[in-house]
């Protein structure tokens, strides 16, 4: 399959941006699980007994998917995981906006309130993810080259 060089570079850039964002987000939450647990509670969307389960696993899913994506391992699969997380996050932010709640979204370390800006960011990341799911990205990759060719 002949692939456009420009598209390849674009996909590589998307991969790097997404992976850094998710590695950073994951690592930040892992370093302070209590805050993330509090952030999930703020959304008031999940039953109280399930909150810490999510608070324990979501950061690691973000971190591991981010790392695998960075090294080009299982790009489609990891993009699908990340996009699923993004859809959940975006829905949570959107529901909170409709309810008129206003609090720190708990997305990245520094406080950033929920709002249209957050929805926009998530949407952009989601677009990058979907492109990676559709086109894959094999440039600068640790995965098996013989298979991909």
């Amino acid at each position: 399959m002949v692939r456009n060089k420009f598209l390849e570079f674009f996909l590589l850039a998307a991969r790097i941006i997404l992976s850094f964002l998710f590695i950073y987000a994951g690592a930040e939450k892992i370093s302070d699980p209590e805050s993330f647990s509090q952030a999930i509670e703020n959304y008031k969307l999940f039953p109280i007994y399930s909150i810490n389960f999510f608070a324990i696993i979501i950061p690691w899913i973000e971190l591991i998917s981010g790392l695998l994506l960075l090294f080009g391992i299982k790009v489609k699969e990891n993009s699908l995981i990340i996009s699923s997380l993004l859809v959940v996050f975006t829905l949570a932010v959107a529901i909170s906006m409709m309810r008129g709640l206003n609090f720190d979204c708990g997305c990245f370390g520094k406080p950033s309130p929920i709002g249209w800006k957050k929805l926009g960011e998530n949407f952009l990341m989601l677009v990058l993810c979907v492109m990676l799911i559709i086109y894959d990205s094999k440039l600068v990759s640790l995965s098996d080259k013989t298979k991909s060719n």
Binding site: I30, P33, S37, A55, I56, I61, I133
Partner: protein
């Protein structure tokens, strides 16, 4: 589009395992089931006690010494959370978790000269706040918290934020209790109820 769902399951299972192992080894790890911190409302007897004391303030001042001698040991008065009053100050037994109060009690405490703390962000604070309240934004940086060094741990503090919908006062109240303040109240109605009642405010 050949996506391997087996790989996705593997990645997620691996993340769950690593997450739980790390959490159990991490000294800052969290419990599996979140404990819900709930606010307990201060009993109405405190409100009644303040009312009574305000009414009888003059008689107490004059007869303080004799009254002390008259109260026998183990009297019911001792069991009440308000014990005695000295120079127009109420005395409340210390407690470890913040307690919630409603507008009536908050205003009573305000009249007694109790310190109020605004947990909202500085821009909201500057648009208007309870007169004389200090601003310690819960999401703000540490420099705002320096003022706490001037407060006695024994003092009564009332924390509030926007209204019943906001959690900032609750979080700040918990933080203050953890820092060792022994009489922290969370004024539940907050700013919205305060202005509805036309109580004293200031802007800057």
């Amino acid at each position: 589009m050949n996506i391997s769902f087996k790989d996705i399951a593997l990645i997620i299972i691996a993340s769950i395992l690593v997450g739980f192992i790390y959490n159990s080894l991490n000294p800052k790890g969290i419990s599996l089931i979140k404990e819900k911190k709930e606010l307990v409302f201060e009993s109405d007897s405190l409100l009644l006690s303040i009312d009574q004391e305000v009414e009888t303030i003059d008689s107490i001042k004059t007869s303080e010494i004799t009254e002390k001698e008259l109260i026998p040991k183990g009297n019911n008065v001792r069991k009440d959370s308000v014990q005695k009053k000295e120079e127009n100050k109420i005395i409340i037994e210390p407690f470890t978790e913040p307690k919630a109060i409603k507008i009536d009690l908050a205003y009573k405490l305000y009249q007694q000269g109790v310190k109020f703390i605004d947990a909202r962000m500085p821009d909201e604070y500057s648009l208007g706040h309870i007169k004389g309240a200090y601003n310690i934004p819960f999401d703000g940086d540490e420099s705002y918290r320096e003022i706490l060094n001037n407060f006695s741990k024994e003092e009564i503090l009332v924390v509030y934020c926007g209204g019943t919908d906001c959690d900032l006062s609750f979080y700040l109240g918990n933080e203050l209790s953890e820092k060792g303040f022994k009489r922290v109240y969370v004024f539940f109605g907050g700013w919205n109820e305060w202005i509805e009642n036309d109580y004293p405010i200031s802007k800057n």
